[in-house]
Symmetry: C2
Subunit: 486 residues, 2 copies
């Protein structure tokens, strides 16, 4: 049993601060031990459906149990059931990297246990968030109009880029319909249309569905041979819709598609959006982090004409999920779309207008103190440290691209502008699938796939905190071995 | 500077596991120290707008800084800028209680750093979540049809009850329109209507706005003298709308309104919903935790006829934000409303149909391993420990209600079914405001307010982890002193 302090009047089951000190060390040690031996685990969990649940009791305990029992179950049941995203040989999907300072910032946030829904409910929670997002804007050289200390702009931490694009869509929808949908409903507003490239993230379609705009009204605009949005095709789609009487509300451009890190041409897209007065949201969840380095800032060219922007420190900036940074050029459009003030949240600070109440910038009401972890990361690494690691990841990916080019059995399937390498076996999908499955099945590395122009493609996403050149080289060696065995 | 390990090839700025052990202890100690002296801080932060930001550098550092510097700034700038939600004398808004095991579960989740968007991306993350939500269903004696091991039902952890009601609304909207809004948009579906009591949470209105149903189409149904939804008024509103050709999509009933913990009469509301075939969502964010104790399970009577239900362990069940448990009777309706499967997320487990992919149960794609903290809490306390503390909170609130009744200068403003006491000064709003402001300004306790029947009311919400009878007694004493001084 855990230590149960007893007050003068009655029994308490709460963990005392003394016990928290002792148990906290045990959990810190468990994490450090895990990171030290993370390469011993198969990267992709080999468990079968139902196996984890079956290894645990079907009902909760009536009496409390010691934390040591939970930690033993973590070792016995949970760790074997994980796919190890922090493994240096995890190359699937996208990076979801993390770091010591980030984990400790998350811990501190949980330990302080404050709610940041209003400025008044914990001023430091709001003000630190506003500040670190301005810091991040400086580090990424974002347009000044997105900064919270600009006249109209501002930024907020969202849980994810999916929530950010939903908020952008709702704000854009209300701007385009002068608030008509939010009040009178979609039936009153006629046909609304939205636009993104055929390669844009599924979150755009999800947002369009949730917001009731309808997936039939989402135009999946054609891409060029680099898999980037074709501005002429966008303009043609807008012209057709406007001629048909529709109201275009949102264009989403992507800086780094999930499939292949294609970079949509923002200057040309922004020019089209200007002509049609449609909200431009730039989804840089995947690749915006690259702009820490001046040599990669070309990806953001034209961003000064966007209405909103999001980037995920929880992907490639050593900050554990969740931490999406969402910037808007016109905070009033966002806040007016999402603000509802019930009586029990009224307070003098809100009514003064001198503060930000972040509940009006997001779907949920409540919010954690997520700025702490981003603050810890930016200060621990400093700008120089962050740039160092981003450059290292890009350099490793470029090396891999070179190895692929040099092996006649493989071919690159898309340009490699940054840290994602997409390639296939020249013999076609079956061979590509087989070499990938062999590496994934070995547990030595994990790669995921997509389709480019209908053909199966292996994706190697380089962005793990612990990933060094040697890990990518080893995975490439295994792929080559698998190709030898075909 | 922090310790920077150097590999054979290049410099690394990452925190090593050894350094993480050392720094982790420092953060654990900071939290334990904070909790030990939490009563020394003014509960409501006295800082002025801009004060926190002004105390920190305007730009991020170029070179990394040691964690000790961040922790010193936490002490110097952050702690004074907090409103202390974990203080035993915090009685504002709602409980956002926490506990040692929960904080350590959050820490472990951050440390493991896995993504639970698909079963395949970390099977244990999904399966533990499904299991602990079935445990919670058992502890709260929820209807069997909400359990994940039932034929049609299931449950998921959402960040908040706001997101849960949005998901319920989208699922209900798609069920009522046979998917028409999600595909063709709101313009194709005609007028959709939604219903909740005049006392329901602002999240209903926010969801209605986000989903494009429109706030004009949200019927705020009248309440009875206990501030609970009047089923006859609900039926009348539905009849009027249907006669006018509208399509009703969602009724939200509340088990514990935020204002006064009014409990809507579920059996009668469910009967009305049955007659109109409209989705019934039960929002028990505030009070559902009470059903841990058999003597309070009357609050859920009629729940077996609801379509969805949400309760917040992050309010009153010692689990730090965010952890909303969202249950549905028909998981297919939810998943079909939210599921989008892009090529890069395809995998064998998903295609087998044998697993849950929780990305289809929520707005975001990514998700943390939040089940760990709830699992730690349920096991640390055991059912008995949780019941003990919930009973203690209710008993303290009932004591306070008695003290209010016994003081002729104050009067209760609403029934006190559980752990929230609403009362006012008999001299009216000015007197009520003055006594409350005096206590809040003293820093000794924090109370928030609402309006009941147009009159200002002090709310004392009893649910803090560290709150004992003595803290409530002291706050009451201060209110009485303030009344003496009027």
């Amino acid at each position: 049993m855990s230590e149960h302090a007893s007050g003068p009047d009655e029994r308490s089951y709460h963990m005392t601060p003394g016990e928290f000190r002792r148990q906290g060390r045990a959990v810190i040690d468990l994490i450090a031990d895990y990171l030290e031996r993370i390469e011993e685990f198969p990267v992709l969990s080999p468990v079968q459906p139902g196996e984890v649940r079956a290894a645990l009791p079907g009902s909760p305990p009536e009496r409390g149990e010691p934390l040591a029992d939970m930690l033993a179950d973590v070792e016995r049941v949970i760790l074997p059931g994980l796919t190890h995203w922090q493994s240096p040989s995890f190359f699937g999907f996208f990076p979801a990297n993390s770091s010591g300072p980030s984990v400790l910032g998350e811990l501190l946030s949980a330990g302080l246990g404050v709610q940041g829904m209003l400025w008044a409910t914990s001023p430091a929670c709001t003000e630190l968030e506003t500040l670190v997002l301005d810091w991040l804007a400086e580090l990424l050289a974002l347009p000044a109009g997105f900064r919270s200390d600009s006249p109209a702009g501002g930024a907020v931490i969202q849980d994810s880029a999916s929530s950010a694009v939903l908020c952008a869509l709702v704000a854009a929808r209300e701007r385009a319909t002068r608030g008509l949908v939010g009040t009178a409903g979609g039936a009153a507003a006629g046909q609304l249309t939205t636009y993104c490239s055929a390669e844009a993230h599924s979150s755009v379609e999800k947002a369009v569905r949730i917001a009731g705009v309808g997936t039939d009204n989402l135009r999946r605009v054609a891409v060029d041979d680099r898999l980037a949005l074709d501005p002429a095709a966008l303009e043609a789609a807008l012209a057709t819709d406007v001629a048909a009487g529709a109201t275009p509300v949102l264009v989403v451009a992507t800086v780094g598609t999930t499939g292949t890190t294609a970079i949509d041409p923002l200057p040309a897209v922004a020019a089209v959006c200007d002509r049609y007065a449609v909200w431009l949201h730039v989804d840089a969840a995947m690749s915006g982090t690259a702009a820490l380095c001046p040599e990669f800032r070309w990806i953001h060219e034209g961003l000064d004409r966007a209405d909103s922007y999001s980037v995920n420190p929880h992907k490639w900036m050593f900050t554990n999920f969740d931490c999406d940074a969402f910037y808007v050029a016109d905070r009033a459009a966002l806040v007016s779309a999402l603000s509802i003030l019930p009586e029990y949240l009224r307070n003098a600070a809100t009514e003064s207008g001198a503060v930000i109440d972040y509940r009006d910038w997001q779907v949920p009401l409540g919010r954690r103190f997520r700025a702490l972890k981003l603050w810890f990361v930016l200060r621990h690494y400093g700008a120089g440290g962050l740039r160092h690691h981003v450059r290292e990841h890009v350099a490793i990916a470029q090396k891999l691209a070179g190895w692929v080019r040099a092996d006649s059995r493989f071919e690159l399937a898309a340009p490699v502008p940054l840290n994602l390498v997409c390639f296939r076996h020249v013999d076609g999908d079956v061979a590509t699938e087989r070499v990938m499955a062999e590496v994934n099945g070995s547990g030595a590395a994990y790669l995921s796939s997509t389709r480019v122009c209908g053909r199966l493609v292996i994706r190697v996403s380089v962005g793990g905190t612990l990933t060094r050149a040697a890990h990518v080289k080893a995975a490439w060696g295994r792929l080559q071995q698998a190709a030898d065995g075909l």
